[in-house]
């Protein structure tokens, strides 16, 4: 008997991406650059988060023409973003043959109460989180991969660090609790008891957890890996940096993610990369424009 879309097949692809870099790309040419640099997957977008932030207005799923162009350009997996709660955008992405759907706070939410019921799909989903409770809520809705949110399009790693520490700190805390305390904790985390118990027993999330939202340099990528990320999403950090050095920076971030614990290698690959993207100080962003606040 053949079964497609099983949980093991969905989480399995994320396991295969571990230790790798997933890069935001907006056309076939960028997708090729990412693949040549050693990206494990690309995220097909109409605009990178920094440009979405600058443009304002409603940000939606990318044009299917654009997504197909990128699918046809590379042999590595292609991901694409749907708005939070917009299950029809997700249906369209599945029909296009996208390998992973990111239900993403980078786009304008379509539903302020409900996320997509991801169990309805054969294609796997990745979702953002800021803490352990949010991660477990997304997993209970069927997410097969998690990423910490950070603050997309800022080139500022501070929120990514905060969220990774929060998730992993939460796991360490949960691990140390007594069995009889887990019922009340499940209520507090607003997450199903079974998932809370699983994390308590195993000391990790049941799915892979990548870092996202603010990586701009090889050092940023290695920092997130040392803090316990399984891999790294780089959004604006590559294609919003100095153009002449884009391919070199992309390759350097891949190497830094593989050898994150090796300062000598990090020093070597961090040399001569041109100017990184211009960063944004988080306190300068109006509250209403904070992407990480989207979703619950």
């Amino acid at each position: 008997m053949i079964e497609t879309g099983t949980l093991r097949v969905k989480t399995g692809l994320a396991e295969m991406l571990k230790g790798g870099v997933i890069m935001d790309v907006t056309d076939a040419e960028q997708a090729k650059i990412a693949e040549d640099a050693g990206a494990v997957a690309v995220m097909a977008l109409e605009r990178v988060p920094a440009d979405i932030r600058a443009a304002g207005g409603v940000a939606r799923m990318a044009d299917p023409t654009k997504i197909e162009e990128i699918i046809n350009a590379v042999t590595i997996p292609v991901m694409a973003k749907a708005r939070i709660g917009h299950f029809v955008e997700a249906q369209i992405l599945e029909a296009l043959g996208v390998d992973y759907i990111d239900e993403s706070e980078v786009l304008t939410p379509a539903d302020e109460e409900h996320h997509i019921n991801k169990w309805d799909f054969k294609v796997p989903f990745v979702c953002g989180c800021r803490d352990l409770g949010e991660a477990l809520r997304r997993i209970s809705e069927g997410a097969a991969m998690i990423r910490t949110k950070g603050e997309p399009g800022t080139g500022n790693i501070v929120e990514a660090v905060r969220h990774m520490r929060s998730v992993n700190g939460g796991i360490a805390w949960l691990k140390g609790l007594r069995d009889d305390e887990l019922f009340a904790v499940a209520k507090e985390l607003q997450a199903p008891y079974e998932l809370v118990k699983w994390v308590h027993d195993n000391g990790r999330l049941p799915v892979v957890n990548f870092s996202a939202g603010g990586v701009a340099t090889p050092a940023d990528a290695a920092l997130m890996m040392q803090l316990g990320a399984d891999g790294v999403f780089v959004g604006s950090g590559i294609f919003k940096s100095e153009e002449e050095y884009v391919a070199k920076r992309a390759k350097a971030i891949v190497q830094a993610t593989t050898h994150y614990g090796d300062p000598e290698l990090l020093a070597r690959v961090s040399k001569d990369l041109g100017e990184p993207m211009v960063g944004i100080e988080i306190s300068q962003i109006p509250q209403a424009e904070m992407m990480q606040e989207r979703g619950w």
Binding site: M1, E3, L13, M16, K18, G38, V40
Partner: protein, 191 residues
């Protein structure tokens, strides 16, 4: 023979799962991050992951020659999915770094995209019925001289052995079943 060390090529991919299987069999798993790490292991697993990424990093860090030498010394190597592609003598399409050790031709993403990824029961020679997980998996298009096909899905070849080289298109490390890893451990013991 108790403390056999088995390396897992730790450039990218499902390194943790293979290491857990190795340790569950009572052997020691070693993350192979640099070619020098190969000197301390008796066998090597090349895990699933992105074959283009692993291939590029392999070249970058001088693994290609080091792994060929490891093989020439008679030490067993097992490649799963991306690992199988990297072991293959050639691939049907595209141009990417390969170890070109095993007399097979592999087709990348042969079964399709992620929505076509699947689980199925296979009958593996010397092992028996096995729940196989295929993820954007390759298949073996053709086998050459001295290669023994160990499992087929329909009439598609998905697992093969050539002397001290073992390759599967699927992922036994994603199941709780240790038999394929046990088979590889026995290959190391016999080497």
């Amino acid at each position: 023979m108790n403390n056999i060390k088995i390396g897992v090529l730790a450039l990218q991919g499902a390194i943790r799962e293979h290491t857990q299987h190795i340790e569950a069999l009572g052997a020691t798993g070693v993350a192979v991050k640099w070619p020098r790490d190969l000197s301390e292991v008796a066998g090597l697993i090349i895990p699933g992951g992105e074959s283009t990424t692993i291939g590029k990093l392999m070249v970058e860090y001088g693994f290609t020659e080091a792994i060929r030498d490891f093989n020439a010394a008679g030490k067993p190597i097992y490649g799963t999915c991306a690992g199988m592609i990297l072991l293959a003598k050639k691939i049907t399409e595209g141009n990417q770094p390969l170890l070109s050790l095993m007399n097979i031709e592999a087709r990348r993403n042969a079964f399709g995209r992620q929505r076509e990824s699947f689980e199925a029961d296979l009958d593996i020679k010397d092992i028996g019925l096995f729940k196989a997980i295929f993820i954007r998996a390759p298949w073996i298009e053709t086998v050459g001289e001295s290669v023994e096909t160990m499992a087929e899905f329909g009439n598609i070849k998905v697992m093969a052995r050539q002397g001290s080289l073992l390759a599967s298109a699927f992922h036994p490390e994603l199941t709780g079943d240790l038999r394929v890893h046990k088979y590889f451990l026995d290959m190391i013991k016999e080497a």
